[in-house]
Symmetry: C2
Subunit: 218 residues, 2 copies
């Protein structure tokens, strides 16, 4: 395993962290299909990684595999779930009940993995008071008061860009330790607050870049 | 600049490609604010990269900056837009008109950048025939026929996971060169077809991993 990948603090490199959910997803598919064992070569082929990379990634979490025998799917899933923090539940609060916010609130996969949206807030008076996915949509002015009395793990921001920093500041001020940001803005947060961005346009631009690159080669 | 980052074929490393949309977004904000010049140090501070990394990234596209004088925001934006392929328009077709699909079809930012959803398909008879964001929702059985007579750059998959491979196969069969996938499935495509995934759950799992890691350190 290349030592340059190891972080100085003994933590797990971000590249490995990025791949763990991919392993989890594929192993869950295998488990659903009743597959009991899988080799690093099989995993590699299915996920377009090299077998060496898979062995290297999984070695960060102890020795799961046996030479020539592969990995036990159930055990590997259990270990990866534990490493990803899926042995507990997460309370989420969503701000922004537009189409995207509604899609997030309806997404069954999150709840199944232990991520539960407990409250939804919006600025739109026409939306406030409506039920969506088992939550009443509340006015955004009440967000701070709500967060003060309801400890929240993850604040979801699905608002237009021009208000997202303000919403983010409210989450941070009320002690929410992590932000899942869907707004097209680079949020400013203190070092200790974790942020995951889903920048849809960025993803689309990576696609147009590669389309363009391919066209120039052709 | 570290030579190991350079790809053998003279292409641009994926890490750099990933950061270009981030530069584009921030530089657009600066342009909107009327800022004319920006240094690599300023860019670095705003985006949490080192100035050296920014200089290295931008050097792939020629010499934009002048020592001690910084980058011309307009010129840098023009160059990055060109590199990202934004000097042309892209025709997109969306399959899946649930909340997520509707959110994508309504997203003004895409159209502004030249990405236009020209047709929407769904399997749900209750949705078919409805207008959404200027498109009539068409029955998914007509997807193949539509694609045969309407050249499409990007196929968007916002369906449940169990049908996404089939939709993907239809896109590929009809010569759509790239797929933007929102379904929680690792799609199998021929080498020449480009795929960008938005795996929402994966992003959430990276967050739970880091929350868990932080908690263990505390």
């Amino acid at each position: 395993m290349p030592s340059r990948e190891r972080k100085k603090d003994g933590g797990i490199p971000s590249g490995v962290v990025t791949r763990l959910p991919i392993y989890l997803r594929y192993l869950t598919e295998l488990q659903d299909q009743g597959v009991g064992r899988v080799s690093s070569a099989q995993l590699g082929e299915a996920l377009s990684f090299t077998a060496a990379q898979i062995r290297s990634d999984l070695s960060y979490f102890g020795s799961f595999g046996q030479q020539g025998y592969g990995y036990d799917v159930d055990e590997l899933l259990r270990q990866i779930s534990r490493i990803l923090g899926l042995n507990r539940n997460y309370v989420m609060v969503l701000v922004g009940a537009g189409n995207l916010g509604k899609a997030l609130a309806s997404y069954e996969n999150f709840r199944r993995r232990g991520f539960e949206i407990r409250a939804i807030f919006d600025v739109d008076e026409l939306l406030v008071g409506n039920y969506h996915a088992c939550c009443v949509i509340q006015p955004v002015e009440q967000l701070e008061e709500y967060l003060r009395s309801n400890p929240t793990d993850i604040g979801i921001i699905a608002t237009p860009g021009h208000v997202s920093q303000e919403i983010c500041d409210t989450f941070v001020k009320c002690g929410v330790p992590s932000i899942w940001n869907f707004s097209p803005v680079h949020l400013q947060v203190p070092d200790e607050v974790l942020v995951e961005h889903i920048h849809l346009t960025d993803s689309l631009l990576r696609l147009s870049f590669r389309l363009n690159e391919q066209r120039q080669k052709a």
